[in-house]
Amino acid sequence: MKLHEYQAKQLLARAGIPVPHGRLAVSADEAEAAARDLAGPVVVKAQVHTGGRGKAGGIRLADSPEAARVHAEAILGMDIKGLRVKKVYIERTARVARELYLGITLDRDRRRAAVMLSTVGGMDIEDVADQSPEKIARGWPDPRLGLLSYAARSLCFDAGVPNEQVAAIADTAQRLYWVYADRDAMLLEINPLFIQDDGSLLAGDAKLEVDDNALYRQAEVAKMKEIAPDEEIEERAKALGFSYVQLEGDVGIIGNGAGLVMSTLDAVGNAGGRAANFLDVGGGAREAVVRSALEIVLANPRVRSVFINIFGGITRGDEVAKGILSVLAAEPTRVPLVIRLSGTEAEAGRRLLEGAPLVSRATMDEAATEAVRLARAVAAT
């Protein structure tokens, strides 16, 4: 789960990390009032769950409350990478002398959190890692000990932080690690971390992603959850117990197991087509879940054929067949269905589907080829 900058900054401030004074606004009026409150030059920042806000024009400086109003009008309602801006955060500007990067992410290979510090701030850290990896100092704290003082200091020296800044930055890194561990974060970044002209630190931005599997013990964070309109289908699918990701193609996909569904997408690609979605019904899906899955896939107007690929383990072929039949009973689907049933109760499932208006194929490759062919046939009509 992703948090907005203003939400992440609340949590950082509470951990003793300095953040700029700021106010949230959902209208131009509120933005102007917030800027007046903050008394001084401000920055108006779009609050959306994506990076690249600056490049998209979602971050603008304002030297008066009137200017803040104009900028808020421009930013509110703006579309940034497909996400509509509904809130802006108004902040006092910093007196920036220098920008650093400080972030913590999951290092899957080391099975540790990786703490990263670089004197190249404000940039996309992946670009820095690509082009000049030596500019990023890294540490991997033992989760049972946390980020110890000496380790935090080492990071500063490795990154080339000036001596007079080491104590403050090491302290901020330790506090950041504490928030990371305490809030079950997957990613926590301050980029840029400002060193101001008087030497004090200030978090310029904050990015926080929390592990969905830990929300049961992160009640405060869970309350901050916001669902963007384009995430609604994916959220509805999650509530029903399966995972759905919208893609660009025209062959709808339903399968059981993430790996099998990914391979199904690949099989459609091998057959010269493109998948319209990823949909994993999970293990042991019953009739009702299969029905909802098919309904969600068919609700996508781009879909021109649907490929249902089931290899039954816990999932039973007869339950899958019943789910499909209940959709077909209501009304014939607007696009052709292709099914490949294997594994547990596949025989029983195929018997149930005999005579139903759909195409059955024995293997994943044959079914993918057929689904792609049928999608093209629909496109041609």
Partner: protein, 289 residues
């Protein structure tokens, strides 16, 4: 014989709920020695003929168990794994899905100084066909033989085992390591077991996009590979930055792409299959040399 599990494996079940009972029964049908189960407060009773114990330590004392399978729900699963580690069970299979990543980070730190092997979480388990099954896989897709098989994906494991079995290619040991971002037995470690196993003649590796476990496995095989290997990577057509169901299967930046994994395997002399259906043929070709 095989690796990690076989005739001498004695298993307890942690979490004998609905799912646990169902799969304990399937495991016993298969011939797995299920010697006990734990449930706090149920010590001294039996469920479906399985002796119950209050703690893992007591179960191990009484039954000489050397392995465990965990069905405990996500909130208690990390505790169950740590309890099994504390009793020094040689093999721990965690079926449970949705365990918090920070719990797994703590477990990974404990594993660094432990002799136990953890398979999972969020996995189908492991099977040495004809000897022992510790997991939830449908047994009829597997058959005894010489192909060692490691997979990050559950259903794809069944699919590929079925393809191998239909082709007459039996398996030595199949390990479903799980698709989570932090797991107990990453691909390179599982490959090392199969590479060192005298009864494994060829290795099949099923990977997914995300992380660099496949690249590291390729690196290992390039240096130490003793037998032919065939790999398959799921998710070649997945767009970057999209999470594909598994928390593990996500591509960010340039790392973890299918292209990088395919290139790593190919440069290590490992054949890469374009579709699962190619795997049996490629295994036969690789075995012929």
């Amino acid at each position: 014989m095989s690796v990690l599990l076989g005739h001498r494996t004695r298993v307890i079940v942690q979490g004998l709920g609905r799912e646990g009972r169902f799969h304990a029964a399937r495991m016993r049908e298969y011939g797995t020695k299920v010697v006990g189960a734990t449930k706090p407060g149920a010590g001294g009773t039996t469920t479906d003929g399985i002796p119950m114990f209050d703690t893992v330590a007591r179960a191990v004392d009484a039954t000489e168990a050397n392995a465990t399978i965990i069905f405990v729900p996500a909130i208690g699963a990390a505790d169950a794994i740590l309890e099994a580690l504390d009793s020094e069970l040689g093999l721990i299979v965690a079926i449970t899905e949705n365990i918090a990543v920070h719990d797994m980070l703590r477990i990974a730190a404990v594993l660094e100084t432990s002799a136990s092997v953890l398979i999972g979480p969020n996995c189908p388990g492991a099977i040495t066909p004809g000897e022992c099954k510790i997991g939830i896989m449908p047994a009829e897709n597997f058959s005894p033989g010489g192909v060692g098989f490691v997979s990050r994906s559950g259903t794809l494991t069944y699919e590929i085992a079925d393809l191998l079995t239909r082709d007459g290619l039996g398996q030595s040991t199949c390990i479903g390591i799980g698709g989570d971002p932090v797991i107990g037995l990453p691909t390179p470690d599982a490959v090392r077991y199969l590479n060192e196993d005298p009864d494994t003649e060829a290795i099949v590796i099923v990977g997914e996009i995300g992380g660099s476990a496949e690249e590291r496995a390729a690196e290992y095989l390039r240096a130490y590979g003793k037998k032919p290997a065939v790999a398959f990577i799921a998710g070649r057509s997945a767009p970057p930055g999209k999470r594909m169901g598994h928390a593990g299967a996500i591509v960010s930046g340039n790392s973890g792409t299918a292209a990088s994994k395919v290139a790593a395997f190919e440069s290590a002399g490992v054949t890469v299959a374009v579709a699962p259906s190619d795997i049996p043929r490629l295994v036969r070709e690789a075995l012929r040399g």
